[in-house]
């Protein structure tokens, strides 16, 4: 995980609602063992059945090819819980997604990996997307510390972000180590729960 504080980068607008994780990365991407997922992101939208780039797709346009920020519609990342959707986006080069809303599991997966998910009201997202298609270079500045976005047309937006989750992104920390620090209280709770609901802890041997 890489710490995130502030980024100015090319942003690609993909203004569809309900972009699901199957569209981001197909289950079939699992095949053949561990492999780079970046080239497989949005496969069905990026490539036709012959493997040729679809010229209309935003990431196939030279202007947006090197995007590190995605600007998307409502309910981004809905559907399957597969975390490979986050990995594929990040391996392509994305470090943040700006959308009016996200699927719950995707949102959590993004935070655990350092992909910054920013919620902005729909009208503001639409304004940003339109500005990215304008005449100026399609750059967005995302300042996580200040909770502010600057569009390519110099429009400014502020967003809310849970301060604890924000700090974790800035320090590149997922929950793993933090949970390990809680083992004493987890174990104590476990002991008490065994007494209250012992049937949950009977040893089940499957063999």
């Amino acid at each position: 995980m890489i710490p995130f504080t502030r980024l100015t980068a090319v942003a690609a607008p993909l203004m569809r609602d309900n972009i699901d994780t199957d569209a981001i990365i197909a289950a079939r991407s699992m095949e053949g063992g561990v492999r780079p997922l970046g080239p497989l992101v949005f496969t069905n939208w990026r490539l036709d059945e012959f493997g040729m780039e679809r010229p209309g797709f935003v990431l196939n346009q030279d202007r947006f090819r090197s995007a590190a920020i995605m600007v998307a519609g409502r309910n981004f990342g809905c559907g399957s819980s597969r975390e490979s959707a986050v990995w594929a986006l990040m391996q392509y080069g994305f470090r943040a997604v700006v959308a009016p809303s996200f699927g719950d599991i995707f949102y959590e997966n993004a935070l655990q990996n350092g992909l910054v998910p920013v919620r902005l009201p729909l009208e503001q997202v639409e304004h940003l997307a339109a500005a990215l298609q304008g005449g100026v270079p399609p750059l967005i500045t995302l300042d996580l510390e200040a909770c502010a976005i600057t569009g390519p047309d110099r429009s400014n937006y502020s967003f809310n972000f849970d301060p604890e989750r924000r700090r974790a992104l800035m320090l590149a920390k997922d929950d793993f180590a933090l949970l390990q620090e809680q083992l004493t209280s987890i174990t104590a709770f476990h002991t008490e729960r065994c007494l209250r609901e012992p049937w949950l802890f009977q040893r089940l041997t499957l063999s």
Binding site: D22, G79, S81, Q180, H190
Partner: protein
């Protein structure tokens, strides 16, 4: 401490009771440290999690609370093994090796109880009421049909549960859906939940834990309740559940790993308290009258694109806004269906019965009722994949495999198969499938595959006519 004492004298929802029973401590600004009772692994979402444990030099904290199954990427061909579908063999073998190394009980491919995780966990009695239950899969909510608080997590959180048996979580809001009325013939649990998603949309319950309540839910079997809970994530909810009642307790009395005898009686005392108190306040409530529901079927590329079978496909020109109109046009184009007409008579190429939504014995029995004495239409590939090897065996004991085979269906081994199409079973490009699964996304069942999701009875009807059919007309023959 005093805060929770005050809380207990106020009416609480079922979810609040279960949440509070699992809070170890508040954490940070908005989250709590939550204890996880049981954790089920499936082979496509735990590889990196085990890797993390290895990197950190850690063991699985509580192997006794952890189980694994191979379901998503395994072939469903007769006699299948880890190598039957070579592209996924590395994942399957990694799962076998990891479970062995870390001491996690695995329902391996050749285990008589192997199956789709959300079919296996309830039928074995591994998921129980009031339990916090997680799996690296969004349809984990299925076990809510038994009154468990069951939800999907990503691979990072899988690793966290393996190492700490806990998670940091924000408390969701509460939504209760009251299903009233009596289901008409040939209308099922699947239709109930499809109707909700169709009416309220694919993000209606984002940030909520959903309680399914009302007389129509009470009247459902446990298998029906699991169908309803299964699709919670399709309208945004990470978890959805039905309060345990006598139907639940009867179901559990038979399960191999449910508590027995004195332990069962003790559990029952606690389980009987797990329901929403009278006067409990939900953040949102929805009512749905089931008595007028007809069989539901999807027309588009989102689970919210659902209509009654005799309802015309909606007209994008009548969409409430420009965004919705654009989405509808894209979906209509992808699916190659026409607005303003019903789907009846649309030819299909593939009929699939299976999945954690509708792969249980009652689903297979309903489909068999339609199929018996009939034949699969020419040119249609019809497939049944039982939700678990146990379900397969039970169906065979009733002779159902003969019914399907005689009609021209394939009767296959258990796994996720064409629901997620990660095991070699898929719908070819451009072909139209009718399926008992839970997602009709673009490309879900295969690149450029077109999917209509509906009930097992509706899939069976289309299999034998070769086209989307109102099953009620067929049953009357």
């Amino acid at each position: 401490m005093s805060e929770s004492v005050i809380k207990q004298s106020q009416p609480r929802t079922l979810f609040e009771k279960i949440w509070e029973a699992h809070v170890i401590a508040p954490y940070g600004v908005d989250r709590s440290l939550i204890y996880i009772d049981r954790h089920f692994l499936q082979e496509t979402t735990c590889f990196e999690a085990f890797g993390r444990l290895r990197t950190e030099g850690l063991r699985v904290l509580s192997p006794g609370q952890t189980f694994g199954v191979i379901d998503h990427s395994v072939s469903t061909a007769a006699g299948r093994n880890a190598d039957s579908y070579p592209p996924t063999a590395p994942w399957i073998k990694a799962m076998q090796a990891n479970c062995e190394e870390f001491g996690v009980a695995l329902l391996d491919i050749d285990d008589a109880r192997q199956g789709i995780v959300h079919v296996v966990a309830p039928e074995l009695g591994i998921a129980l009421p009031g339990m916090s239950f997680v799996c690296g899969d969004s349809h984990t909510a299925t076990c809510g049909g038994l009154g468990a608080w069951a939800f999907g997590i990503g691979t990072s959180q899988v690793g966290q549960v393996l190492a700490s048996q806990a998670l940091f979580l924000s408390k969701p809001k509460t939504l209760r859906i009251n299903f009233t009325g009596v289901l008409a013939p040939a209308v099922y649990a699947k239709d109930m939940i499809l109707a909700v998603i169709g009416r309220y949309g694919t993000a209606a319950a984002t940030g909520y834990a959903v309680e399914y309540a009302g007389e129509a839910v009470r009247a459902l079997s446990i298998e029906g309740r699991m169908t309803v809970s299964n699709m919670s994530v399709e309208f945004g909810a990470r978890s959805g559940f039905v309060a345990a009642d006598d139907t639940t307790f009867q179901y559990l009395a038979d399960r191999p790993f449910a508590p027995k005898n004195a332990a069962f009686d003790a559990a029952l005392q606690v389980w009987r308290t797990q329901s929403s108190d009278d006067g409990a306040v939900f953040d949102r409530e929805i009512d749905l009258d089931c008595s007028t529901l007809e069989p539901q079927i999807s027309w588009g590329t989102s689970p919210q694109d659902v209509i009654g079978v005799s309802t015309p496909v909606p007209d994008p020109d009548k969409a409430p806004d420009r965004d919705r109109r654009q989405m509808m046009l894209k979906s209509l184009d992808y699916m190659n269906v026409r607005p303003g007409r019903t789907l009846l008579g649309t030819p299909i190429d593939v009929a699939f019965i299976g999945s954690c939504t509708n792969g249980r014995l009652s689903d297979i029995e309903e489909a068999a009722r339609i199929v018996r004495g009939r034949s699969v239409a020419p040119g249609v590939r019809a497939v049944v994949v039982p939700g678990s090897t146990t379900v397969k065996r039970q169906a065979e004991a009733l002779g159902l495999h003969h019914v399907f085979r005689a009609a021209g269906f394939e009767w296959r081994e258990s796994g996720c198969s064409m629901c997620v199409s990660g095991n070699g079973d898929f719908v070819p490009a451009g072909q139209r499938s009718i399926s008992t699964t839970n997602r009709n996304f673009e490309g879900r069942q295969g690149r450029d595959a077109r999917t209509h999701i509906t009930s097992p009875a509706m899939v069976a009807a289309a299999a034998v006519t070769g086209e989307i059919t109102d099953v009620r007309t067929l049953a009357m023959k």
